[in-house]
């Protein structure tokens, strides 16, 4: 029968049975008239050619865009245009070829079974991550399996589309994509993971899936967006040209009520146009659709309050004409093919998109008739260079752009002004705060000054005392009569004597600190501040021998008590530099004093840092004991020169005070210190003991700070 079709006659020539190639073998109609060998060769040749031009793709001629946006081929499409188009097509193919080689897909697909072929092409993890992140944000109350399902679906979806894109026509691909959507929807209806998900959530989910899958596919060259084998790209260019040519079409031709002079109107038009232009930038069909929706809403607002379709469509056509959006046909076809059909068919977005399609279709088929225009006039307009027409609107729109920019800038300026205002308010507040703070401080200082007037009286007192003290024996004599009743009574009376003394003392104690700061300033000039400062931290520590030091400290401040410990005299003498090496000190020690002076200056910086450490060291009496041994002779070994200085002073003061009575040796001094405490003093049982003990008790109680801060060590001792 095949032969019959070939040969009308019934007679078959033997040459007809031979191979077409002319070799002596017999041909076979199954092999297109070739012999088996020749046929195989031919096939191989064909396949090679196919591979080179990726001819597995259906021929472009066979394909038509699904929604036949036909464009009357225009005279302006010169051969050059065609050539450019062809070039770009081949370029695209080359792109795809590279792409497909990379992902190792369809070109050699028929050689492998799909199951065997491992999917070497990997979808970037970015999508997965992006989906995960967005899922977490948007669907907080859905179980994680849903997230996984969605991602698996998107993955398989993308893989499938890429695989199919090379072997299917666009329409088939579109159908397949739609089936994928339906499949997912059905899956959502049946899967237990989605059992308690509402239908609205399901819709959101399918939008979500569509968005992520299509956003990725959109950017692949020639897969879903203006795919190879379609005329989308050429139609895009044709459309763009067409719109440019029709730029003379004004609002009057379309019978839409637009007022060019109205700024609000042109503003709205400008917004609509910018939304239309942004359609190309959006990746997914959903994004494009929402842009269209926004654009159409602006157009509707443009038409007035109760605008109907009769107003919307002309206005939209006008907007499209003025906007001339890039790749318009490609975008429309992309959305119609790959958007979830259910959404496209119903709903507001679908309606506006349909309107846009109508507008495009209208522009394509625009004739003189459709504009209610004379044919001659129309032709005349069409012959006109595109640059002339529509210049008025172009001017208005550019003005609108400028106005918009100005508005933006104005808004920015306003925001800046608001910022400035807040900043100024804050600055004012800060200034006020600073002012009030300053005043407060001044007030406090004044208050403190008023409460504690600078008096030099107390200074005189120690001087007087010291002068008294110079003759050591009379001092004891003077004091003994005061205290003699105390020892006569039982030991319990002694604390009683103390307490009344403590109470009044407490107030001045706080004051003394303030005073020191005041005095510090005055003493800074003499650079003896360093001497002054360390004493307060020491005083609370209240080692028995330190009590004397605190006593000396008090001497600088007005002490309400007339009584001051006799030991303070030494420090008082030290306060004045002249007295440093004065006759009170042993001649041997005076040299060391000078060293101390120097180190004092050098240690100025370390002073501030070391002050907190100081209380620790004086705490432990052994540390103090050690230091005096080393320091006077090798000051460099000390951690901070100042501390050593201080301790040396203390030692000296002790020595100084005691030296009048006792020996110069350091060791001895400490022992005498210990002996000062009554418990220790009692034990030795000196001949002096009754007198000395009382004197020592008086010393302790006499130093107000020591008494109030550390009553406990004293009390058991006295008892």
């Amino acid at each position: 029968m095949i032969f019959a079709s070939k040969m009308p006659s019934l007679r078959i020539d033997q040459s007809d049975l031979k191979c077409k190639n002319g070799c002596d073998y017999f041909g076979n109609p199954q092999w297109q008239g070739y012999c088996s060998k020749c046929h195989r060769e031919l096939l191989q040749r064909q396949r090679r050619a196919e591979k080179a031009s990726s001819a597995t793709l259906p021929k472009p001629e066979q394909k038509k865009p699904e929604r036949g946006i036909k464009l009357a081929s225009h005279s302006s499409f010169s051969k050059f245009e065609e050539k450019r188009l062809r070039q770009s097509e081949t370029l695209k193919k080359a792109n795809l070829l590279k792409f497909s080689v990379f992902k190792k897909s369809s070109t050699d697909e028929h050689d492998h079974t799909p199951e065997r072929k491992p999917p070497e092409f990997k979808i970037p993890a970015l999508i997965n991550e992006g989906m995960k992140r967005e899922f977490r944000v948007r669907f907080t109350n859905l179980p994680p399996q849903v997230d996984r399902d969605a991602r698996v679906f998107v993955h398989s979806f993308i893989m499938d589309v890429i695989k199919c894109s090379n072997v299917m026509t666009v329409d088939e691909l579109s159908e397949r994509v739609q089936r994928h959507y339906q499949h997912f929807m059905k899956y959502m209806d049946t899967s237990p993971h989605f059992a308690n998900a509402e239908s609205e959530i399901k819709e959101l989910l399918i939008d979500f899936v569509e968005k992520h899958a299509m956003t990725y596919l959109h950017d692949l060259p020639g897969v879903v967006f203006s795919p190879i084998g379609t005329e989308d790209e050429r139609l895009d260019r044709a459309m763009s040209e067409r719109i440019q040519q029709l730029s003379w079409v004004g609002e009057k031709h379309l019978e839409c009520k637009l007022d060019r002079t109205d700024s609000a109107c042109s503003q709205l038009l400008y917004k609509a146009i910018s939304e239309l232009l942004a359609v190309d930038g959006a990746a997914g069909p959903g994004g494009k659709l929402s842009r269209v929706r926004r654009a159409c809403r602006h157009v509707l607002a443009l038409c007035g309050a109760s605008a109907s379709a009769d107003d919307l469509l002309p206005a939209l056509i006008f907007t499209v004409l003025k906007a001339n959006p890039p790749r318009l046909v490609s975008n429309i076809n992309f959305v119609t093919r790959f958007c979830n059909a259910q959404r496209l068919m119903t709903g507001e977005g679908g309606y506006y998109f349909t309107n846009l399609c109508c507008a495009v279709s209208f522009i394509e088929n625009l004739t003189a008739e459709s504009l209610n225009m004379d044919k001659k006039e129309f032709d005349c307009y069409m012959a006109m260079p595109a640059s002339i027409g529509g210049s008025t609107w172009a001017a208005a729109l550019s003005l609108c752009g400028a106005a918009r920019e100005a508005a933006e800038q104005r808004a920015a300026a306003r925001a800046l002004l608001a910022d400035v205002a807040t900043l100024r308010a804050e600055a004012d507040l800060l200034a006020a705060n600073a002012d009030s703070f300053e005043k407060e401080i001044a007030f406090k200082v004044n208050d403190v000054l008023a409460n504690t007037p600078l008096e030099i009286k107390p200074r005189r007192e120690p001087l007087r005392l010291s002068s008294l003290r110079n003759s050591s024996i009379p001092l004891i004599d003077l004091e003994t009569p005061v205290d003699t009743p105390a020892p006569m009574k039982p030991s319990e009376d002694i604390p009683q004597i103390k307490l009344p003394e403590i109470m009044p003392v407490e107030e001045p104690v706080t004051v003394t600190f303030d005073r020191t700061t005041d005095e510090k300033i005055t003493q800074n000039i003499i650079d003896f501040q360093s001497l002054e400062k360390p004493s307060p931290p020491k005083s609370p520590q209240n080692q028995p021998w330190e009590l004397k030091q605190t006593g000396s400290f008090e001497l600088l401040t007005p002490s309400p008590l007339g009584f001051t410990p006799f030991d303070s005299r030494s420090i008082d003498e030290l306060m004045t530099p002249d007295d440093f090496g004065s006759d009170h000190l042993a001649p041997g020690l005076s040299n060391i004093n000078y060293d101390i002076d120097l180190s004092d200056f050098s240690g100025d910086n370390s002073l501030a840092e070391d002050t907190p450490k100081e209380p620790k060291d004086p705490f432990s009496p052994d540390g103090i004991k050690k230091e005096p041994v080393f320091d006077p002779f090798q000051p460099q070994t000390s951690q901070s020169s100042y501390k050593n200085v201080l301790e040396k002073f203390d030692e000296f003061s002790l020595i100084d005070s005691k030296s009048n009575e006792t020996s110069e040796a350091f060791e001895v001094v400490h022992r005498t210190q210990d002996s000062c405490t009554p418990a220790a003093a009692e034990e030795p049982g000196d001949p002096f003991s009754p007198v000395q003990k009382e004197a020592s008790i008086l010393d302790d109680s006499g130093s107000p700070t020591s008494a109030c801060l550390l009553p406990s060590p004293l009390q058991p001792q006295t008892r």
Binding site: A307, R343, T346
Partner: protein, 201 residues
């Protein structure tokens, strides 16, 4: 949400009162369901309606009636569940154009339910205009259609009834469709099972 369960397309020539019909329906029916979407203009309206204790979102698509856009109306009624073709009983021209849509809908969108709607009933009732389209012709035409209503957007007469009828019909249809779908799926599954059995044999 912008998604609708039903898509209803309004067709009809210019100035026949399509937009008024929609506005009347959307804005004046407060008692049963409020419009869930703030509509800008009346080009697209969406409204929630109730049928058999179930709620449906109905999207109403207005179309441009001007003759120059007639070629494009096909895009609008693609995939529509129902179409309302409006005419003015007092205008013969609107009736002749109606026939064009009727024909097209029957051939292109077979599943689409078609409703005829004569508008401006109040004018006819008031005797302000003369009826030009004979009633018997309308009756013969509407025989093969889903329904025919004479409405007045001014008084609101029959407007709600028309839309309620459409929704009821669609809902019923949807149920039938679903049943059919389920049955088909069931059949398919059975067939698959059979095939499997056959294969194993």
């Amino acid at each position: 949400m912008s998604r609708c369960d039903f898509k209803i397309v309004l067709l009809g020539s210019e100035h026949v009162g399509k937009t008024s019909l929609v506005l009347r329906f959307v804005n004046c029916r407060f008692n049963s369901g409020t419009p869930y979407q703030n509509t800008i203009g009346a080009a697209f309206c969406a409204k929630q309606m109730q049928s058999n204790d179930k709620y449906f979102n109905v999207g109403i698509w207005d179309t441009a009636g001007s003759e120059r856009y007639e070629a494009m109306t096909r895009m609008y009624y693609r995939g529509a569940h129902a179409a309302i073709i409006c005419y003015e009983p007092s205008s013969q021209a609107s009736w002749t154009r109606l026939r064009h849509w009727l024909q097209e809908l029957r051939t292109v969108e077979e599943d689409c339910k078609v409703y005829l709607c004569g508008t401006k009933k109040d004018l006819i009732d008031g005797g302000l205009v003369q009826r030009e389209v004979p009633e018997d012709i309308i009756a013969t035409y509407s025989q093969g259609l889903s329904g025919h209503y004479l409405t007045s957007s001014k008084t609101g007469e029959n407007v709600d009834e028309l839309f309620q009828k459409i929704v009821d019909d669609c809902a019923a249809d949807l149920r039938v469709m679903k049943d059919v779908e389920e049955a088909r799926l069931h059949l398919q599954k059975e067939e698959n099972a059979k095939n499997k059995n056959y294969c194993y044999c």
